[in-house]
Symmetry: D2
Subunit: 433 residues, 4 copies
């Protein structure tokens, strides 16, 4: 036991009326909801990187956190894992997620990186034996080291492509070894700074091939989890190829991977791309590629990724409503890819940020489930399209322009608009949220 | 002859040193450039709607223009066509574009709309016989009338779908009749105001079927032009389905239409979607769906479509560079989907806005052609990816993760970053622009 | 009695459990809260323009609403007033707001405009005698008519300045006549489309003089209400001079009007300017110029003014918290400068949009009041700055650089950062919201 | 002599036709233009921080540059200065700028920081004796170290206020010692992350007092340069108090400092605040507070500060046009607060980025000067406001509402709009740019 969280109790459900800071007011893991335990609906995951590896820097300032495990040795990596599992235990977190670079020190070459990774993965595996916390997903950090500055799979230098492919293999192995339920790819450097030096066609081809190899390797090793791409439009790159859900879908279709790969959607990335979070979820569900979410918010007035803990029940309820409509998670979950503010220096801040976020997620889920059970919103949606239910109107979709024109003329079709009832639906929404 | 443009001479090329406002300084139609006449490179088109049908309103104010042809009769529609062709003649415009609603008055029903359209199309056809100006593209306005308020192809009401399909048929007929080189679809209402009342999956299916019928009808009537979709992310809708080039590509792939339909890209729509104009062009070219452009700019500080005449040679040079790299236009062209400011009341403003825009396009094209001929930029691009030219490295793309890992280990691959040279390439660019 | 709202009952408070659409669930006018009736805290106002004068158009489409009172006669203006007061009665709205152009038809000249205004103001005055609804504020529409296309007070044409000044006089007279509690100026055209034709210094001087005359006239006629400026950064203009609260403050200081004029802050305008709504309120309060609010939201993904009815309790609670901290409204109120969506065609939509908005405001107010009463947030704020409470530290503010340097050296001052506790405060917030 | 720039020649003017990468094509220091040498118009400055202290990191990746002088000793600080002056010499840069933290290693306490600073300032002073390069401005870095995480002047902790005040004193001393022509304050942490823990009124008061002390100290030590505030709306903070020029003006007026302090305007900061660069310059000039500029651009598609070297002649010409109209710089200059991209690893990249930027500035200045000399734009501006030149119309500005109304009635004033001629002015512009 480290003493980093000394004095902080395990967080338990006490109900909305408690005025204890260190309890759940709304998140009650065993509470049944729409046929499942709340924990099984929400599938919360803690992100290793922001909570344990991020020093608190931003583009205009350096480290603010002073953590005893910061540094570059295997011993410190083990201390970091100890602290992480202490936090998972305090929160009773069902899942966590990690990049290779979060858990192991950087080595001098690929072989040392891999040795470091394997050793610390073994250590984490041992810790997991004594913990309820499982691995939601693993991933490779192919963006921080300077070797990736011009891309990983899309690098103009084939050696970087090779290094990246080899690294993903080791991370998929590690994810498999730890029983991970998904493997994620986020291409922070798969994009460009300037079109002047970029060959879009070539880089896209490289990326398609890379992803195909990832899918092949998944099947080869019998990994049962899902392969997920995390869309983001930009930052750090000026333009990133996995811009948003629709872009990723087109990419998957192009390389025949739309049945093999799903998406991990983040609120912050959605709004950077000009979409609402719920849009991205609903779109992915309608295309059959919804996988998982990163439940962290961006500030609406900031044009970069702020990765804040979520705090708005109505916004999150929109997201969970779409997830429930789509049938809920299969392998996915609610990952907090969220960092406490760089001014939040204390261990308590780290714990309570998660506690608050889990509570607002629970409230949002309950509201979404109640609204779905009420059925009013779905009944209205169905009624709005009910005109399509007649055989004659359904037939329009398999007709042709000339025949339709003839029908319009023959029947004197002259459509009259009907109210879209947006405000009434918003009122209905607010009865539950 | 109307006397709307009385006293304004036909615009002729005089060269950069002229201080006459009513001349071309840079646009010299017959000047040869990269093997083609400048006119044949640029293929300028005037947009009927902004120049002749827009009254000057904005969301906070009404009509500012007072045009003798404003009103709702066939006689006024003919006067409008007369003025339009007088302007085409003054500008020596090689092309124009129109929606049905620009050229004919709205009728009481579909039949009257069609009669009005056919009659005015005949009138325009006659005018074209005495003019050099040809039709770049036709299109149907499926967004202004209140019947389209909830969408056209994606409307919850099948009668609107039917009306829209019938209308597109008449507009394709009109485009064919006038020798149009393309037919365009812009889905300003194909999207939603709120997800609460929207069925994304159903609307997408409707839209896919609609587009397939358009393609079928094209083949049925032997229309030789291209079918073009014009992407736009939003406005008037909160979200529009044809968000950007990547989204349209995914949609085309989904419905098997990627070899049948191309895109008409607008600068203003590109930047509303978070992209540079040149990005959208380069992306479309790399995906094989580049068709045509709308060369009008948005204000970078305004979050809505300002549709201004272009004025920045460097920005337009980026666009033309990508167009030239992609081989230039086939059926496409440079359409000015641009409106003079609502304070620009005078006939001279309308003429000179086009003259200035044609001149900056000409400068941009010349710069782009010179840079491409110089070859420095392309040589640098090729050198940057040259590592992929060896057989061993090319083989990486058809390898697998485990083999690549073995190679990385065996060869001790440890990639070293190389400069991306962005500023040097920007300097090179500025030698030509 | 018109029959526009036939069948719609007066809205009464029934409580959160009601499942009747036509009731208040949370807005209970007589409920006491922090020492005042809820109605007296919230001071709701209905905006005449969006509800009764807007035809449903947007930049890409025309009228969608078909209202029996649309048209340009005094008889129709009276019918519009009848319907308006029927709606005020249904909602039991304590206030309304209007522009001259909302209530009277446009005349052929200034004299006719004024006659029309006076006549309809008399009519409205009579209606108010039989109604509980009072006038929150009046204003002049100096932006819709084409004469204002280049500005009102800031127009390059002195005749427009004169027309505008004369018009504001008549609107101040009307506001006074109807017992209005404020007079508002929104300068939608006080800005520019292009700097190329604009003299910033001159236009600013015109605007300062204009506002000074408004203040003088207020005193001359003994108007007891507040003069309010409504900041907005842009739209319809590319740049508007009353950009945001800070800009208006600087303008008032420049012309010595900071004790005479306050601000009317709108959520949608705040976020267009890159600020949160609560920021603008808190800033205005800290500068002593907080007046009133327009409680309508913009869509975060749309770059223009969407003027939607509010629907997010947490966001509005932030606003009301700042208003309560500042002591609540004096002459100001909560105006719904909100329009139903153009697809919301039915009379019920108009009523229920207001009902829903009033309910979410009530919830937000209650949450804010409870949090303020709890005191936790304010106690934390005070504790954070407590270091300044010692005389020695307070003295720093009246010291000088050299003396402070000497003290830093002498005392070896070496400050240590302390947690800002943001997430803990967000958790506290969410206990009340 | 270090050998960092080995093989790179001093850059000399060769003219536009040269195809040598290492020359000026347009920047010809001694060329006369509007009565002054080009060097004296442009007053270029190199920024120490980006060029010599920035390691190439971004929020998702670490150091990419490997510079022999990176590290924390006085010896390395001297090597850094050696390299800097070698670059100044290669570029023949007339000016440079620096923060304390750029030039000296961080010490253990205030005293050591000051000793380090004084020692390196002496070293720099010696180097300046053998160089043509002078100091445009000095400044204190009050944002990178973790002690400033919650603000400097606006910190809740008075010890940070004291430390900051003492530090600014030492930096003003250093600036004075090196003959600096300005002293700049940029408040990257003077703002907030969340209103929940912030007392706006108190922080603003602290900031006002701080700035007053800076002004007092300037006079005390007889510093002849200007005190400049650099506006920025956000990043790193969610909200920064020096949001934009208008906000800074209001702040200065509030504390009676509007004749003592001017602004240093950056293109990137302007557009983050929703303004064009030329707007901010024109506004500052009209308010009498224009000081200096940071001539670096942000990417229009990125919502954060990209600090790129400028590359667009038309945009920069707009800026220089406003500067020339305002009479040119007095103590200010054109500082490149610009960083080469993190992929631009080579010493050549650093030199050529500056060379290219100086050339585009020179082109922009020449275009602006020619346009101003032509006089067409200014003649049009004057004509547009000419109606105000009559005594009767001038009198409107000192009249009152009632008298103006009487005049409107008496004269039947009914203003008619006139064209704003925007496109014609854009055409005129493009004849010179």
């Amino acid at each position: 036991m480290t003493d980093f969280f000394k004095g902080i109790p395990q967080i338990r459900f006490e109900g909305a009326e408690s005025d204890n800071e260190f309890v759940f007011r709304h998140y009650n893991p065993d509470e049944m909801l729409a046929g499942k335990r709340m924990e099984d609906h929400l599938r919360f995951a803690v992100a290793y990187w922001h909570s344990f590896a991020w020093p608190g820097g931003d583009p205009f300032g350096g480290q603010t956190f002073e953590r005893p495990w910061f540094g570059d040795s295997m011993a410190l990596a083990r201390m970091k894992a100890d602290v992480a599992f202490e936090m998972f235990d305090i929160l009773q977190a069902p899942f966590f997620c990690f990049h290779d670079a979060d858990v192991r020190p950087e080595g001098a070459d690929f072989a040392e990186n891999t040795r470091n990774l394997e050793e610390i993965v073994d250590y984490i595996g041992t810790k997991m034996e004594g913990s309820k916390t499982r691995l939601l997903w693993g991933t490779a950090n192919l963006f921080s080291n300077r070797r990736f500055m011009s891309g990983a799979a899309t690098n103009p230098d084939p050696e970087v492509f090779a290094w990246s492919a080899a690294t993903v293999k080791t991370c998929m192995d590690a994810t498999q070894r730890l029983g991970g339920e998904n493997y994620v790819l986020w291409g922070g450097r798969e994009g460009y700074e300037t079109l002047l030096n970029t060959d879009l066609a070539r880089e896209s081809e490289q990326m398609g091939r890379f992803l195909s190899m990832v899918v092949d390797y998944k099947h080869k090793i019998g990994f049962k989890g899902a392969i997920l791409i995390e869309p983001k439009p930009q930052e750090p790159s000026k333009h990133q190829y996995d811009y948003d859900v629709a872009t990723v879908y087109g990419f998957l279709k192009r390389f025949g991977l739309e049945n093999e790969v799903k998406v991990n959607i983040e609120q912050g990335h959605a709004i950077l791309a000009g979409h609402s979070f719920e849009h991205e979820i609903a779109l992915a569900a309608s295309l059959g590629i919804f996988g998982s979410i990163d439940m962290n918010r961006n500030d609406y007035q900031s044009g970069w990724d702020t990765d804040q803990f979520p705090d708005s029940v109505p916004e999150m309820a929109r997201a969970y409503y779409e997830i429930l409509r789509a049938g809920g998670y299969t392998t996915g979950g609610t990952n907090f890819d969220a960092k406490i503010r760089r001014q939040s220096l204390d261990p308590e801040d780290l714990i309570l940020a998660h506690v608050g976020a889990m509570d607002v997620c629970a409230r949002a889920l309950k509201a979404a489930a109640a609204l779905l059970e009420d059925g009013g919103l779905e009944a209205n949606r169905q009624a709005r399209y009910a005109g399509w239910d007649t055989p004659e109107n359904r037939a329009l979709l398999s007709s042709d322009l000339a025949s339709i024109e003839a029908r319009v003329r023959a029947e004197g079709i002259n459509p009259q608009p009907r109210s879209g009832r947006q405000e009434r639906l918003e009122n209905l929404w607010n009865r539950f949220v």
